[in-house]
Amino acid sequence: MTKRYVLVHDENKCIGCQACNVACRSENNVPESVTRLQVRIEGPYGNFPNLHFKYNRVSCEQCENAPCVKVCPTGAAYVNDDGIVSINENKCVGCLYCVAACPYKVRFINPETRVPDKCDFCKSTRLARGEDPACVTVCPTQALVFGDANDVNSEVRQVLDTKANYQQKVNLGTEPRVYRIPSRKGGIKA
């Protein structure tokens, strides 16, 4: 594996504006009834007046050790050379095992293709053209950093090495490639 694409979501900079949500839908032609990405504004938590929201990006975590890939009976779900968890539509029968097995619940059946769909870091569109994923490009507050963590000069590597960050559900051993910079207020619930 030569590349290790990762995404960092800074919950301090994120304002939950859904620019990413809309850009993703537009870029990837995601049907109206489903979504690859949403940022949930959870809370407020804490005690008045010391409240805080949690900005929870919900999209494929691109697990290093992906449960969806493990359970797929046909190998339609696989991890690409660049580390992106991908789907081979031609091998998929639509058993929903991957959808059920995903601990993050970010896989869904695309009603048009009838196969599971999810975030793929825009790999066949923007990434292929050498651009950042749509969500990263449009983010008004630069809350998203994307890049190849194997590249010593990359911004993501710099950010991950120098800022406090966490991943979701690490206890499951999935090793997500989506990292989160926790809000400066309140605790981390991962």
């Binding site: 809309v22 109206e32 009834s33 007046p49 929201f53 008004p140």
Partner: protein, 758 residues
């Protein structure tokens, strides 16, 4: 039992289509299949999903989709685009969008429409307007429009027609800070949030009401430069969440806290004496007035602890001059808007942050900038004008009261249309031509607007959808969306000159037209064609650039042109760089600034902290002063509203992608208050007052004061044509009373309501 996921997926596609609209005349759905065609190459343009108008770059992708991103040429916008902007193509190709002229059949507002051709539409409008003009005078026709190129062309038509009554939405949204700035500084002023080290914010929710460059600037200042943000807002908004300190201030009492800050600055000798002495008029009167406005007094009014006001004032002064009190945007918190916005400006003036980094500054348009540079750094634009426009003798309907004089040229008192129509004050209106405006949501007192529109002899609406206002039109004119339109070059100067331009990206859909063309063609029908001598937008643009085709090509190519280095007159480093760059630049002062060149277009040429002019047209208001206002009855809760990041206040609720994100505005209620009414989150509630009554759902949250309820604006449409929005959520305009604030002419968006569980 829950729907299982497959039933849901099957159902979702079919359920949202809405069967009734398949037959709505004039909609894309009624016209049948529409293919997407346009430029496959990125075209730089300007967004219009909200009124911020960010620079964008858009292209048609594989004939299937339109990709809309920010225009990277505009550095402070960073190539970003918000959810509304990104969803522009969803509005463009919405099957419910109207793409054919319509005429009303049946009662006004009943919702029965018939498709007609443009010729018939123009002829009908011309016949009616000319008849009304002949019978009652041209002034009896009011014209209102979304501002920008759209209002430019419609208001030109109004003037040609002979009516002085032109209105934008200003008095329902931003006019307060504009009027206050005119009174104090002689004109609009900008804020440099990106360089500020200490930002005090009174409910200016830049993280939901996104203004791309300001939103980015503030976040950058906060996260990368360590700026401190203090927010006073009754609701725990996103900006309150991102703040270092949040105070749940009592609604409408911001003016008290702002005045207390001024009190501390003066009383504790924290203000910039030198600046005040040099640039400020009326300081003594102001200082005398604010003597009484102690933090303790402010605490009793606003619930913000006195010690915090004192501490914040000291911190703010310590960060001066690179500190700012944000003067806000939507200015309809209280009827004392004029005093509130002036008090916020005063807190800036006292620390002398004018023309300093992180403070306030004036836009540096080309003519001014070139003068400082001693050379033509940036081209200036010519303003197309028409000679021999008819002289209009009639007074505007909002001119009866001299106190609104500062607003006459900045949009006018929009809601005065209601009184002029219903009670002939100051004279009777007979027709209303509206373009891309939805007063039903934002003008307040919806029932009165309905009454007004029913009483008028003739109503024309130009829009993309049949909005709630357009639902009462006799003739509906379908406008092309911004992605289908060319427009004039627009001045977007900040600290240095900049221009940008809106350009057509996709082919026009259906039988729609850009508004400049609609009003020009209507002028022909009205026999006013001589006042529209230009052929098309190209002619107008060429006139603007004085036939400099290379400049025009350049701006069309890049979409955004900025010139020179940022300049703030009192900032040494900037002036130094400026002078180094331009050898013929004006000689700086001894302190290496242009401080001596800073002047104000007020009667005194200074910042008028207290104003004789204002005292003249609004006695008692020359000096900024606190007045108690009753915004609600004792047994009511405050009702406040705000903007959400995925919608505008009145125009996007039917855009499919955005409606899918949010179509309901559950009402925020504090847990203790909710407990009194036995209300839980999700419960159906009634929210009502003397103005109206609405049904909605409750959102029980600690993020709101116990004496206040909150709802996002724009939901709960009542006309069936907006199928995705109708009947969903609480219609705020139906609960807000018809009130006009002194001097600013603003309407009022804070009122009292009662709630009940259903």
């Amino acid at each position: 039992m829950k729907l299982d996921r497959r039933t849901f997926i099957k159902g979702a596609g079919a359920g949202t289509a809405g069967c009734m609209l398949a037959t709505l005349p004039g909609s894309i759905a009624a016209l049948g299949k529409t293919s997407i065609s346009g430029s496959e190459q990125s075209i730089a343009s300007i967004c219009e999903m909200c009124s911020t108008r960010c620079p964008i770059s858009a292209r048609v992708v594989d004939g299937k989709n339109v990709s809309i991103l920010g225009n990277k040429q505009a550095k402070s916008f960073g190539g970003a685009v918000c959810a509304r902007g990104g969803a522009g193509h969803s509005q463009l190709y919405d099957k419910q969008r109207i793409v054919k002229p319509l005429k009303r059949v049946g009662e006004r507002g009943e919702g029965n429409w018939q498709e007609i051709e443009w010729d018939e539409a123009y002829a009908t409008i011309a016949e009616n307007l000319n008849r009304i003009k002949a019978q009652h005078g041209a002034q009896s026709v009011a014209f209102s429009s979304k501002s920008g190129s759209l209002s430019g062309h419609l208001f030109h038509l109004a003037k040609a027609f002979g009516s002085p009554n032109t209105f934008t939405h200003a008095s329902t949204c931003p006019a307060g800070y504009v009027v206050a700035a005119k009174a104090m500084f002689g004109g609009k002023i900008k804020r440099d949030l990106g360089n500020s080290k200490y930002i005090i914010n009174f409910g200016h929710n830049l993280y939901e009401g996104i203004n791309m460059s300001e939103t980015r600037g503030m976040m950058n200042a906060q996260m990368e430069k360590g700026a401190k943000l203090v927010v006073f807002e009754p609701r725990f908004s996103i900006v309150a969440d991102k703040a270092d300190e949040w105070y749940a201030i009592k609604p409408g009492t911001d003016v008290a806290v702002a005045l207390a800050i001024c009190h501390v600055l003066i009383n504790d000798d924290l203000y910039d004496r030198e600046f005040v002495a040099r640039y400020v008029e009326g300081f003594a009167e102001f200082a005398k007035e604010v003597k009484a406005y102690t933090p303790e007094w402010a605490e009793s009014v606003s619930d913000v602890p006195a010690e915090d006001i004192r501490r914040i004032s000291h911190e703010y002064a310590a960060a001066a001059p690179h500190a700012v009190v944000d003067f806000g945007h939507r200015a309809s918190f209280t009827t004392e808007e004029f005093e509130m916005r002036r008090a916020l400006y005063a807190a800036n003036v006292l620390i002398g942050n004018i023309e300093r980094k992180g403070g306030l500054y004036f836009g540096k348009k080309a003519s001014k900038y070139n003068k400082f540079a001693g050379e033509k750094v940036a081209p200036t634009l010519a303003k197309p004008g028409v000679d021999n426009m008819p002289k209009i003798d009639a007074k505007r309907i909002d001119m009866v009261d001299e106190q609104f004089s500062l607003l006459w040229s900045s949009g006018g008192v929009y809601q005065s249309i209601l009184d002029a129509t219903l009670s002939a004050q100051p004279y009777q209106l007979h027709a209303w031509v509206m373009s891309r405006t939805n007063p039903m949501q934002t003008m307040t007192d919806r029932a009165r607007i309905v009454e007004t529109m029913k009483k008028l002899d003739f109503v024309v609406a130009c829009d993309i959808y049949i909005s709630e206002g357009a639902a009462y039109a006799d003739i509906f004119l379908p406008e092309s969306t911004y992605l289908e339109r060319d427009e004039e070059i627009v001045d977007k100067s900040g600290k240095s000159p900049a221009y940008y331009v809106r350009q057509q990206v996709v082919d026009v859909i259906g039988d729609t037209k850009p508004s400049w063309q609609i009003w020009k063609e209507l002028a022909d029908s009205l026999a006013l064609g001589e006042y529209f001598p230009w052929q098309n937008m190209d002619t107008l643009r060429l006139f603007q650039v004085d036939k400099d085709t290379r400049l025009l090509a350049d701006i069309k190519q890049r979409g955004w042109l900025s010139y020179g280095k940022p300049l703030m007159l009192r900032e040494t480093s900037m002036v130094k760089d400026f002078v180094a760059q331009y050898p013929n630049a004006i000689e700086p002062d001894a302190d290496e600034t242009y401080a001596s060149r800073l002047s104000f277009k007020t009667p005194s040429g200074k910042i008028e902290l207290s104003s004789k002019k204002v005292e003249g047209f609004a006695p008692g208001r020359g000096v900024i002063k606190y007045r108690e206002v009753a915004l609600k009855k004792a047994d009511e809760l405050f009702f406040i509203q705000g903007k959400v990041a995925v919608h505008t206040n009145a125009a996007t609720q039917n855009v499919p992608m955005l409606a899918n994100l949010m179509s309901d505005n559950a009402v925020w209620i504090d847990p203790v208050t909710a407990g009194l009414f036995n209300i839980s989150s999700g419960d159906k509630i009634r929210i009502y007052n003397a103005t109206g009554s609405e049904e909605g759902h409750a959102l029980v949250t600690p993020g709101i004061r116990p004496d206040t309820v909150f709802a996002y604006m724009g939901c709960g449409s009542k006309n069936k044509e907006l199928a995705r929005a109708t009947g969903k959520g609480v219609h705020c305009g139906n609960l807000l009373p018809h009130v006009t604030s002194p001097v600013t002419g603003m309407n009022l968006h804070t009122t009292g309501v009662k709630i009940a569980k259903l």
